[in-house]
C-alpha cells in the first residue's frame, strides 16, 4: 500500500479492502462507520478546545492583554482545565422547567453541528461522505441548531431565555436565506452541489477570483450572514449579555452549558470551512498561472494544512469583528437582512447566471 499525505483515497481504500477481506460486507460497513464516527468525534473535541483557546488569545490580542497564560505553556491547557471543571459542576434542576425538552436541547444543538462535520472535505480523499447535494445538506443540517436554541429558550421557564429564543428564531430563519442564496451564487458558477467537485473545479483558480464581483459580494454576504446564523457577535442577540444576561442558555449549567458553548465554536468552524470550500478552493493549494517554482513550493504543503490554514484565517476574521463591533438591535438586524441582503443576493445570483451563460468567467 502506498501512502501519501497529498491523497488519502488510497489509504481509505486500503482500510476498506482489508476490512472486507476479513469479514462480511455489512459488518465492515458498520465498523467503518464506527471508525469515522470516533475520528470525527475526536476531531470535534480537539477543534472545539482549540477554538476556545484561540478565541481567548485573539480576544486578548484585541483587548491589549495577555489572555490565559497559567495552565501549561502559554496557557494551552486552560480550556481543558475549564472543561474538567464544567464536567464536575452540578446540573441545577430548574423549577417548572420542561425537563425532557430542557435536557434534549443541548444535544440537538451539538448533533446538528456534528452532522455538518461529516460532509466537509478536509483533504483529497479525507471526506466522510461525499453527497451529490453536499451544499444543500450542509445548509439543511446547519439550520437544525436553531431548534435546539428554541427548545432551550422555551423549556427553561425563564423570561430572558424566552426572549433570547424568540430573537434567535427570527434571526436564524432570516439569515438562512442569505446564506443559502450566497451559496447558490457559487453553485451556479460551479454547476454542481457536490463538495468534492466544487473543490476540484477550483484547481486552476479559486471561485472568489474566478467569479468576478458577484463571487466577492456573495462571499461578504455569506460571512456576515453565517456569523448571524451562528449567533456570534455582533449578531449575538440571542444571548446578548448586557440585555438578557445570557439569553437562551441562562439556566444551563455544567456539561449542558458546555455543549452549547462547544457547539458555538464548532459552528464557527463549520461556517469557515464551508466558506473555504466554496470560495477559497477548499484544500487546493494557492497556485498562480505561469509561476512554476512558486506553484511547486505551494504544492508541497499538504492539502489538509491548506484547508485548516484557510479555515483558520476566516475564523480569525470572524473573531476580529466579534471583538471590535458593538451589537446590533433586533429591528436593525432584520432590516439588514430583508431590505439589503436579500435583494442584493437575488440580483447577484441573476448576474452570476448571466456571467456563466455568456461565459465571461475564467
Amino acid at each position: 500500500m502506498e501512502f501519501s499525505i497529498y491523497d488519502f483515497s488510497s489509504f481509505t481504500a486500503w482500510i476498506d479492502q482489508s476490512l472486507r477481506a476479513s469479514m462480511s460486507p455489512g459488518l465492515a460497513v458498520a465498523i467503518e462507520m464506527l471508525i469515522i464516527g470516533v475520528v470525527i468525534l475526536i476531531f470535534y473535541a480537539i477543534v472545539g478546545l482549540f477554538l476556545v483557546y484561540a478565541e481567548r488569545k485573539v480576544c486578548a490580542l484585541m483587548q491589549n492583554r495577555l489572555g490565559p497564560n497559567r495552565v501549561g505553556p502559554g496557557g494551552i491547557f486552560q480550556t481543558i482545565a475549564d472543561l474538567v471543571k464544567l464536567l464536575f459542576v452540578e446540573l441545577v434542576p430548574i423549577k417548572n422547567a420542561d425537563k425532557i425538552l430542557f435536557s434534549l436541547a443541548p444535544y440537538i444543538v451539538i448533533i446538528a453541528s456534528f452532522m455538518a462535520m461529516g460532509a466537509l472535505p478536509f483533504a483529497k480523499g479525507l471526506h466522510a461522505i461525499d453527497l451529490n447535494i453536499g451544499v444543500f445538506y450542509l445548509m439543511a443540517v446547519s439550520s437544525m441548531g436553531v431548534v435546539g436554541v428554541l427548545l432551550a429558550g422555551w423549556a427553561s421557564n425563564n423570561k430572558y431565555s424566552l426572549i433570547g429564543a424568540m430573537r434567535s428564531g427570527a434571526q436564524i430563519v432570516s439569515y438562512e436565506l442569505s446564506v443559502g442564496m450566497s451559496l447558490v451564487t457559487i453553485v451556479v458558477l460551479a454547476g454542481t452541489m457536490q463538495l468534492s467537485e466544487i473543490v476540484q473545479a477550483q484547481q486552476y483558480g479559486w471561485f472568489i477570483f474566478r467569479g468576478h464581483i458577484p463571487a466577492l459580494i456573495a462571499f461578504v454576504i455569506f460571512i456576515v450572514a453565517s456569523t448571524a446564523e451562528t449567533n456570534r457577535g455582533p449578531f449575538d442577540l440571542a444571548e446578548a449579555e448586557s440585555e438578557l444576561t445570557a439569553g437562551f442558555h441562562t439556566e444551563y449549567s455544567g456539561i449542558r452549558f458546555a455543549f452549547f458553548f462547544l457547539a458555538e465554536y464548532i459552528n464557527m468552524f463549520i461556517v469557515a470551512a464551508i466558506a473555504t470550500t466554496v470560495f477559497f478552493g477548499g484544500w487546493m493549494p494557492f497556485n498562480v498561472y505561469g509561476w512554476e517554482g512558486f506553484n511547486k513550493v505551494m504544492n508541497l504543503i499538504p492539502p489538509f494544512i491548506w484547508f485548516l490554514g484557510k479555515t483558520g484565517a476566516l475564523i480569525f476574521l470572524i473573531m476580529w469583528f466579534k471583538w471590535t463591533f458593538p451589537r446590533l438591535r433586533i429591528d436593525q438586524l432584520l432590516t439588514l437582512e430583508w431590505k439589503y441582503f436579500l435583494p442584493i443576493n437575488i440580483i447577484n445570483v441573476l448576474i452570476m447566471a448571466l456571467i456563466v451563460l455568456l461565459g465571461w468567467h475564467w
Binding site: 448586557s242 440585555e243 458593538p326 451589537r327 446590533l328 438591535r329 433586533i330
Partner: protein, 373 residues
C-alpha cells in the same frame, strides 16, 4: 364533574421582566421592572434602595471631618468632587479662605476625577452595547489616573483627599510630572476611543435619536451634567457659579441640542478633552504655600443653613447642611445628580426596544450607591 377552565393569556397582556437587582447592565443593584410587549418596552419602573446605607442620617452623628469619608461612598467615581462639596460648604460657613495652592490642587484633582469617571463611562457604555473591547481600553487608561491618585492621596478610588480647610497632605513631588505625562499619553490615545466606538456605524445607528430629552423636558426633570447639557441645558456649575480655581481658567461648556443617547455620549467625550485643557492651564502654576488653612481640631458651624453645589462627573451635587451650632450637623441632605437623572427613564425608554433601554440606561451613566445613598 368539574370542568377546569384553563386561563388563556390575553393578547395584550404585558410581559413583565425584572432587570436587576443582579443584572449585567444595571451597573450595580438597580432593579428595573420592565413591562414588555414583544421586544417593545411599554414602561419602566425603577425600584431603588437596594444599597441604601442611610448616609444622610449617619452624617448627623459624625463630625464634619468624618462626613468627608462617607461622601466618597456615594458616587464612588466622583469621590474627590463629593469631598470637595462638603469641604466647600463647611469652609463657606466658617468663612475661611483656603490657600491658593489648595484651590489649584483641588481643581486639578477634580478634573482628573472627571476624566477617569468618563473613561469608565466609555468602557461600560461600550460593553452595554456589546462592544466588549471598549472595557479594557477604558480601564487601561483609567489605571494611570488611579496611580496618580494613589501616589498623592494614598487611596485609588475612595481618595478622601480633602478635609475642611484644605487637603489631608501635600501632593507628591512627582505629581506634576505624572500628570503632564498622563496628559501627553492620553491625548495620544483618545483617538482610539473614537476609532473603536464613536465612528462605528452600528454604534451610531443604535444611539442616534434614542431616548431624546428636549430642552424643556430636561429642565423640567432637572437633568444636570452631561445628560442635561446634551439637551442644551446650560447647567455647568463650574461655569455659572465657579468654586475653587474654576474662575481662573477658561474652558468651554459642552452643549448640544439633540439630547439623544449619542450626544450624551459625545458630551462626555468632549468633556474629557476640556478637562485636559483645564489641567493644562493649572498644572504649571500651582502656587507655593501651605496645603491647609489653620483649622481648629473641633469644627463647629454657626447655627444656620448652608448650601453648596459642585459639578460632579454626572451633574450637580448639592450639599445642604443645617447646623444647630454643635460639632455634628443637625441635618444633612445631598442632592445627588443620579437620583434626578434616573427619574425620566420611563419617559425616555417607553416605546423603544429592550436593547435601547440598556443603551439609554448606560447613557445616563448611573452610579447606584449615589441614588440610594
Amino acid at each position: 364533574m368539574e370542568v377546569k377552565e384553563k386561563k388563556v393569556g390575553l393578547e395584550n397582556e404585558e410581559y413583565i421582566i425584572n432587570m436587576g437587582p443582579q443584572h449585567p447592565s444595571t451597573h450595580g443593584v438597580l432593579r428595573l421592572v420592565v413591562a414588555l410587549k414583544g421586544e417593545i418596552v411599554q414602561r419602566v419602573e425603577p425600584h431603588i434602595g437596594y444599597i441604601h446605607r442611610g448616609i444622610e442620617k449617619m452624617c448627623e452623628n459624625l463630625t464634619y471631618q468624618q462626613i468627608i469619608h462617607l461622601t466618597d461612598r456615594m458616587d464612588y467615581l466622583s469621590a474627590h468632587i463629593n469631598n470637595e462639596a462638603v469641604c466647600l460648604a463647611v469652609e463657606n460657613a466658617l468663612e475661611i479662605e483656603v490657600p491658593e495652592r489648595v484651590k489649584y490642587i483641588r481643581t486639578i484633582m477634580s478634573e482628573l476625577t472627571r476624566i477617569q469617571s468618563h473613561q469608565l463611562f466609555w468602557a461600560t457604555f461600550g460593553m452595554d452595547l456589546g462592544g466588549l473591547t471598549c472595557f479594557f481600553y477604558g480601564l487601561r487608561d483609567r489605571e494611570k489616573i488611579l496611580d496618580i491618585f494613589e501616589e498623592s492621596c494614598g487611596g485609588r478610588m475612595i481618595v478622601s483627599y480633602n478635609t475642611p480647610g484644605g487637603l489631608m497632605n501635600d501632593i507628591h513631588p512627582n505629581f506634576q510630572n505624572r500628570v503632564k505625562e498622563f496628559l501627553k499619553y492620553f491625548r495620544g490615545v483618545i483617538h482610539e476611543y473614537d476609532d473603536l466606538l464613536t465612528g462605528n456605524v452600528i454604534f451610531q445607528e443604535r444611539s442616534k435619536g434614542m431616548g431624546v430629552m428636549t430642552l424643556e423636558q430636561a429642565i423640567a426633570w432637572g437633568l444636570t451634567g452631561p445628560t442635561g447639557r446634551a439637551s442644551g441645558f446650560s447647567c455647568d456649575i463650574r461655569k455659572h457659579n465657579p468654586y475653587s480655581a474654576y474662575d481662573k481658567v477658561t474652558f468651554r461648556e459642552i452643549l448640544y441640542t439633540e439630547g439623544d443617547v449619542f450626544h450624551r455620549y459625545l458630551a462626555r467625550m468632549e468633556e474629557m478633552r476640556e478637562s485636559m485643557n483645564i489641567i493644562d492651564q493649572l498644572i504649571d502654576n500651582i502656587p507655593e504655600g501651605p496645603y491647609t488653612a489653620k483649622m481648629k481640631p473641633v469644627i463647629k458651624l454657626p447655627e444656620g443653613e448652608y448650601f453648596q453645589s459642585v459639578e460632579t462627573a454626572r451633574g450637580e451635587l448639592g450639599v445642604y447642611i443645617v447646623s444647630d451650632g454643635n460639632k455634628n450637623p443637625f441635618r444633612v441632605k445631598f442632592r445627588s445628580p443620579n437620583f434626578v437623572n434616573l427619574a425620566p427613564l420611563n419617559l425616555m425608554a417607553s416605546g423603544s426596544k429592550i436593547a435601547d433601554l440598556v443603551a439609554i440606561g448606560g447613557s445616563l451613566d448611573l452610579i447606584i450607591p449615589d441614588i440610594d445613598r
